[in-house]
C-alpha cells in the first residue's frame, strides 16, 4: 500500500513538472527599455499564477526578427511596426507601457527644470545652428536666467536605440530642417556633438562637461537626478517631464487599433502633454491563438495589477482609455 502511494506521488510530481514545462512558460524577446518592468511584472505574475515568463532583452530589432521567424511567443519593440509590415508578417501589435525622452543640460547657476526650450531651439541646437547658450533664440525663452556666453556641447547616443528613435522622430516632426538634413531613426548621423554609449554614457558626459546638452530616457534622468529642461508642447504650454505629462500625452495621442496602434507619441496635442514620449509595443503571431491567449492574460493582469510596480520603476502605465482600447483590440482579434 505504502509503495503504491509513493508511486502515485512520484507519478503526480513528474506529471505536474511535465505540465509546468510544457504549458506554463512564456517566451518573449525584444526591446531592452521595458525589460525591468516586464521582469517585475513577471515575478509577481508567477507568484499569483505559477506561469513563468522568460523575457530576453536582445533589442527591438531582434524582437521583431524573432517573432517574425516565430521562434518566441511574443516580441517586443520600441519601434512601432507600420500596419503594412504587420499585415505582411501576420502580426498583432499593442502598446504595453509608456516611456519618454528628456533633454538634460549642464549649466552653472541653472537648476533642474529651469531651462525652457521649444522644438525649434532644440532642433537648431542639435543641428549646430545655435552654437552658444547666449544666442538670442535661447535667451528669448529664458528671460529670468543668466545663460553663459559659451559654446554648447551636444551629446547624443552613439549606439542604436529606441531613445534616439523617439527623440529624432520628435525633431523630424516639428522641425523641417531636421527632417531634411538628418531624418529619424534608431541611429542617425548627428551633425554636431559627441556620442555616449547608452543612457549612462550620455548622462556621464553631460554631467562632466560644462555647458552641454544631451537626451536620456525619462526613468534614467529621474533616478539619476539629472538637470532636465522644460519643453514647449504643441498646445503652447511649457511642461515638465513627469507621470502626469506623459499620461496626458498617452491619453491625447491618436492611437488607432485599426492600424495596430502604430503611432509615434511625439508632439501630442494635450494641454499638459510632454512632447517627446513613446509607447513600447508587444508583437504577437496571428496564428498562434492559444499561446497568444496566455500572453494576453499576462498583460491583462499587468494592466490591472501592475501600475504601481511600473511607477516604482519610473515607467508610465497606459492610461485607462488606452487600456480599454487595447482590451477591445484583443477581443476583436480573438486572443482574449
Amino acid at each position: 500500500m505504502k509503495r503504491i502511494l509513493t508511486l502515485a506521488l512520484v507519478a503526480a510530481l513528474v506529471f505536474s513538472f511535465g505540465q509546468a514545462e510544457a504549458a506554463e512558460m512564456l517566451n518573449g524577446a525584444g526591446a531592452t527599455f521595458p525589460y525591468p518592468v516586464y521582469s517585475a511584472w513577471a515575478f509577481d505574475y508567477n507568484k499569483v499564477t505559477g506561469v513563468q515568463l522568460n523575457y530576453q532583452s536582445i533589442g527591438s530589432g531582434g524582437g521583431v526578427k524573432q517573432i517574425s521567424a516565430r521562434t518566441v511567443d511574443f516580441g517586443a519593440s520600441d519601434d512601432p511596426m507600420k500596419p503594412e509590415s504587420l499585415a505582411k508578417e501576420k502580426l498583432l501589435q499593442f502598446p504595453a507601457v509608456i516611456g519618454g525622452v528628456v533633454p538634460v543640460a549642464n549649466l552653472e547657476n541653472v537648476k533642474p527644470g529651469q531651462l525652457k526650450l521649444d522644438a525649434e531651439t532644440l532642433c537648431k541646437i542639435f543641428l549646430g545652428d545655435i552654437k552658444k547658450w547666449s544666442d538670442a533664440r535661447v535667451t528669448k525663452l529664458n528671460a529670468g536666467l543668466k545663460l553663459p556666453d559659451r559654446e554648447i556641447t551636444v551629446v547624443y547616443r552613439s549606439d542604436g536605440s529606441g531613445t534616439t528613435a523617439i527623440f529624432t522622430n520628435y525633431l523630424a516632426e516639428t522641425c523641417p530642417a531636421w527632417q531634411e538634413k538628418v531624418g529619424a531613426g534608431k541611429a542617425v548621423k548627428f551633425p554636431v556633438g559627441i556620442g555616449g554609449k547608452g543612457n549612462e554614457g550620455v548622462a556621464n558626459y553631460v554631467k562632466r562637461t560644462a555647458n552641454s546638452i544631451g537626451y536620456v530616457e525619462f526613468a534614467y534622468a529621474k533616478q539619476n537626478k539629472l538637470d532636465h529642461t522644460q519643453l514647449k508642447n504643441k498646445a503652447g504650454n511649457f511642461v515638465e517631464p513627469g507621470f502626469e505629462s506623459f499620461e496626458d500625452a498617452a491619453e491625447t495621442g491618436d492611437f488607432d487599433a485599426k492600424k495596430g496602434f502604430y503611432l509615434w507619441l511625439t508632439n501630442a496635442p494635450g494641454k499638459q502633454s510632454w512632447p517627446i514620449a513613446g509607447a513600447t509595443f508587444i508583437l504577437l503571431a496571428q496564428e498562434k491563438k492559444d499561446v497568444n491567449k496566455q500572453t494576453v492574460k499576462f498583460f491583462d493582469w499587468a494592466f490591472k495589477n501592475g501600475d504601481n510596480k511600473a511607477k516604482e520603476l519610473v515607467y508610465v502605465p497606459l492610461p485607462k482609455s488606452l487600456k480599454d482600447k487595447v482590451s477591445a483590440y484583443w477581443k476583436a482579434n480573438g486572443v482574449q
Binding site: G59, S60, G61, G183, V188, K189, I194, K197
Partner: protein, 314 residues
C-alpha cells in the same frame, strides 16, 4: 617506422582519426565564418562595391549610405597610437625581467603581467569611462594642449575641448591592454638568447646596456617583432575597452581630442538595433573588412615568428 606502426595498430588509427577530426572542425568553423560574412554582406557589396565602400566617409543609417573609411581610420589610428605607447613600456619590462631584475622580483613581476592580461576587457572599458577619462580631461589633456599650443603642426593634434572621450584616451586604454602580450612574448624571445653568448660579452667587459643593445636585442628582434604584430592583432579587434571612451563618431578628425569610431565599436554599438537590410549588410561588410585586416596581420606575425624560431631555437 612510426607511420607503419600507426597503420598496424587499430587503437592508434582510431586515436589519430579522432584528433584529426577535432582539428578539421577548426577549419570548418573558419570556412563557415567567412561564408556567413560574405553571404550576409553580399547586399552591401553589390550596392557599394569594394573601392567605394573602403573609400567613402559616409555613414548614414537614415539615408542608407555607408562607407568604411571613418571606421578603418579610427581602427588604424587607435591601434597605431596604442602600439606607440605600449612597445617601449613592454620591452622595458621584458628587459628588466630577463636581464636586470634579481630572481626574487622576476616571479612577482611575471605574475603581475599575466594578471593584467587576464582582466576582461569590459572592466578596462568601465575603468576607462569612470576613472581614466576624467583624469585625461581634467589633467593630462589640458596639459598637453598647453605644452603643444605654440608648436606648429603638433598643436593640430590637440585641438578642441578636452573631453576625455577621444582617440587619445582610447589609445591609452588599448596600450595598457596590450602591454602584457608584447611584454611576455618579448621576454620569451629574450630568454632564447644563448647564455654562452651573453656571458662571453660580459667576460670581455661589456656593460649591461651594451649586452642588451648588442647581443640580446639583435638576437631576439624577430621574436619581438612577432609579439608586436600579435598585440597589433589584439588591438585591432578590441571592442569593449574602447567602446565606452571613443564616442562612436563617424568622422575623420585630425585632433586626438576628438571622438572617433573603430570597426568593432561600430559593430558593438549598432548591430543590435540595425533594422534595415542594407544597414545590417553593411555592418557585416565592415566585419568582413576587419576579418581581412586581422588575417593579414596575423599572417605577417606568424611569418616572422616562424622565421625567428627556425633561426634561433635549433
Amino acid at each position: 617506422m612510426a607511420i607503419t606502426l600507426k597503420r598496424k595498430n587499430p587503437v592508434d588509427l582510431i586515436f589519430s582519426s579522432i584528433t584529426g577530426l577535432a582539428s578539421v572542425t577548426v577549419i570548418i568553423f573558419i570556412i563557415g565564418i567567412v561564408y556567413v560574412l560574405m553571404s550576409e554582406s553580399s547586399l552591401a557589396i553589390e550596392k557599394f562595391g569594394i573601392l567605394k565602400f573602403l573609400s567613402s566617409t559616409e555613414w548614414n543609417p537614415v539615408k542608407e549610405d555607408f562607407g568604411a573609411l571613418t571606421n578603418i581610420y579610427g581602427t588604424v589610428l587607435t591601434t597605431f597610437l596604442s602600439l606607440l605607447f605600449a612597445i617601449p613600456v613592454a620591452i622595458g619590462i621584458a628587459i628588466f625581467v630577463t636581464e636586470i631584475a634579481p630572481d626574487f622580483l622576476k616571479g612577482p613581476i611575471g605574475i603581475a603581467i599575466e594578471l593584467l592580461a587576464a582582466i576582461p576587457s569590459i572592466i578596462y572599458g568601465m575603468w576607462g569611462l569612470f576613472t581614466l577619462s576624467p583624469i585625461m580631461s581634467n589633467h593630462i589633456e589640458p596639459f598637453l594642449k598647453k605644452v603643444t599650443a605654440g608648436i606648429p603642426l603638433v598643436n593640430i593634434l590637440f585641438q578642441g575641448t578636452p573631453m576625455g572621450i577621444d582617440i587619445l584616451t582610447a589609445s591609452v586604454i588599448l596600450s595598457i591592454m596590450i602591454i602584457p602580450f608584447t611584454a611576455s612574448i618579448s621576454r620569451d624571445s629574450f630568454n632564447l638568447t644563448p647564455s654562452v653568448v651573453k656571458e662571453s660579452a660580459y667576460a670581455i667587459g661589456a656593460t649591461q646596456w651594451e649586452v642588451v643593445k648588442n647581443v640580446v636585442l639583435p638576437y631576439s628582434k624577430l621574436g619581438v617583432f612577432g609579439g608586436i604584430v600579435l598585440s597589433l592583432g589584439r588591438a585591432l579587434g578590441e571592442t569593449m575597452a574602447v567602446a565606452f571612451v571613443l564616442g562612436n563618431n563617424h568622422r575623420i578628425t585630425t585632433s586626438l581630442l576628438d571622438a572617433a569610431a573603430t570597426i568593432t565599436v561600430t559593430l558593438a554599438n549598432e548591430f543590435a538595433e540595425a533594422d534595415n537590410d542594407v544597414y545590417l549588410s553593411s555592418l557585416f561588410y565592415l566585419a568582413l573588412v576587419l576579418f581581412v585586416m586581422s588575417f593579414i596581420t596575423l599572417a605577417i606575425a606568424k611569418f616572422f615568428l616562424l622565421k625567428a624560431e627556425r633561426k634561433y631555437s635549433r
